[in-house]
Symmetry: C2
Subunit: 385 residues, 2 copies
């Protein structure tokens, strides 16, 4: 018999609710579960509710819905409120705490466990991985990433087809992806590229510095050879001259900017091409139609596995996905120490930066093989009649 | 035996290639077809190619691909180049010209016909409707619109679910849709709204003036009652004080702006909510996964119908969709005079602005009934244990 509480934290993904359902599905009549509303804020404010049959049914209905059905958000747990958290758990005699989140969440879980220890309260803490950026250490990848990558790869291909048709009017589009410090998502944009004409034509990652001069040369070369250029930049791409581009102020008004807007301005000014920048936006982490079936399945399974670890008495761990070697995609679930992943950021592997095809081979099974390649550009008969 | 040329013009949609395939599928071995690359530019530059079996197969493979596989774009036909167009057609003895496009395209077709008449060249011109904005007169709706509306309706619902989870961190999102002068797309954002908590909570159309004070009150009211607000504005919404918000300049640098960014700034400044603006972007007209099956089918059929009208000797007409009365969605294809639709813009009907449910009832069959409603927000047990 387990007495557990589970919550969701940080930014949502399109499959995080599947992890919650996966966990709750393992409960038996012997177990007593609580859900925490509004993430760590709910833990501080005592928004901890006992599971009931109606609540359980409602949560089940969220299996395929994006966002966090319990509420999540960003809320700081620190010395000022961490004891309250332990008190709220103690009050209900809850000795197992589970959160679905990213590297910040894993760090907070560890802090709560240490505080509980200090307060002589026995507390088991387990993390379920979730991130769109794919920056969690020691797991092959984390649920949420593949669906975001799928959105980006399909959108880039489609938006490039649109630009191709418009190239006598508009030559360059710069698409900005999520990934504040890591380039997994931006690199994914090329997954469905089949022909040289398909977008993206150029990708810029935060792992590399972007040199303005080379950037402009690469754009110019692409437009000269194809007539247009679809460019993908990660929101966190580092500009070599460290120019600040994130936020501008006009007459005391903050203008939201981004690296894509800055680069778009540069292309227009220096090369004279009609250029548009576009931030791919919140659909990256919430578009239901773009969810990868494999991603949702894995989200469910890491949730289910967390309950198994609760029963085995594990603590201070995060569930991890271990890919098996071999050509067929197979994985096992295991666990890693929270202290090894807390607050750490895993950048795109250098071997994947070097060899994009190796990266696509790694990525493809996570996104699904259900995508048909686009046909080549029309071949025109040269002979005029 | 018909000798026809067909091209695509203006901005692409996700289903415009289906119209092209629909037209070409009607050709028999007796007919002689030409395709025009790059829209009206190709007509001026003589990029007119005879149809061959390989080319026909290639075009068929684009049936489900967004963008215009022939190339389209925006290019002005005027007195300086219109005679060239007629000469290029005369050179090949082509007496039927078909273009897939919007109200600008319909106007250009009419200009070309008049020029041909003036040059004593017999020319039949027929337009196939295409628009994402749905601003074409005298057709119940135009292919391309329903897929864009589907993208907007589903994205708004998903992005709102994401915001709902984040509401302790971020309270307001302002989503900007296409529709420079008409509100069909922005109004569509609410199609899948099932519960008060589902987004969008507020919609602003170009057909109405936006009063800043009421706008702020409505946002405040929504955030006070739900904790967050998902707001949809059309890019063409008219601000009552006529403040210019489309483009700003910072130290000689153009900053792309938009009405959503302006309103987001206003909400932050006046109400203090954490607010984000997002332009829904080019996916509105190019996302393959969001295509409405009904829309694609109709795109094909209006293309096919255009060939029938060619055979019947019709000219200076646009194919139109006429909805049949009754509860079941049925339509017939007919034609309307080009002069009645050229350059005109059809705004959202007043009865649909007044009665949003009537609009949704009109819209639903175009978008497909394959979308499951999202479940209600979780109901929390009030009794704490």
């Amino acid at each position: 018999m387990e007495k557990v509480a589970i919550g969701q934290a940080g930014g949502p993904t399109a499959v995080i609710n599947a992890s919650l359902v996966g966990f709750l599905d393992q409960l038996t009549d012997q177990d007593e579960a609580y859900v925490i509303f509004n993430g760590f804020q709910g833990l501080v404010d005592d928004q901890i509710y006992p599971m009931t049959d109606p609540l359980s049914q409602q949560i089940n209905s969220y299996h395929d819905v994006p966002g966090c059905c319990l509420g999540a958000g960003r809320y700081p747990i620190d010395n000022s409120n961490i004891e309250k958290v332990v008190e709220h758990l103690r009050q209900r005699d809850i000795h197992s705490l589970v959160f679905i989140g990213g590297n910040g969440t894993m760090s907070t879980l560890l802090d709560i466990q240490r505080s509980a220890q200090h307060m002589h309260y026995d507390l088991q803490v387990i993390g379920i991985p979730k991130t769109v950026d794919n920056d969690l250490y020691l797991t092959d990848h984390a649920p949420g990433f593949a669906s975001a990558a799928r959105y980006i790869a399909l959108s880039t291909r489609d938006i490039s087809k649109d630009l191709e048709a418009m190239k006598n009017f508009e030559q360059v589009r710069i698409l900005e992806t999520m990934g504040r410090n890591v380039g997994w998502l931006a690199a994914s944009s090329g997954l469905f590229k089949e022909h040289d004409t398909d977008g993206p034509h150029l990708i810029y990652l935060p792992e590399n510095h972007l040199n303005h001069e080379s950037f402009l040369q690469e754009i110019q070369h692409t437009v000269q050879s194809l007539g247009f250029a679809t460019v993908v930049v990660s929101e966190g791409v580092q500009l070599e001259d460290h120019e600040k581009v994130m936020l501008e102020s006009v007459n005391g008004r903050n203008i939201l900017g981004g690296v894509s807007q800055h680069l778009s301005y540069l292309v227009k000014k220096e090369l004279g091409y009609v250029t548009r920048s576009e931030i791919l936006g919140m659909n990256q982490r919430s578009a239901q139609l773009y969810v990868s079936a494999q991603d949702r399945l894995e989200a469910y399974q890491v949730g289910a596995k967390a309950f198994e670890y609760i029963q085995q008495g594990e603590s201070e761990i995060m569930v991890a996905i271990q890919r098996q070697s071999g050509d067929t995609y197979l994985f096992e679930l295991s666990h890693v120490a929270l202290r090894e992943v807390a607050l750490k950021e895993r950048t795109l592997f250098p071997e994947f930066i070097e060899d994009r095809q190796a990266f696509y081979k790694w990525l493809k099974p996570l996104i699904g093989a259900d995508v048909e390649p686009y046909p080549p550009m029309l071949h025109r008969e040269v002979k005029l009649i």
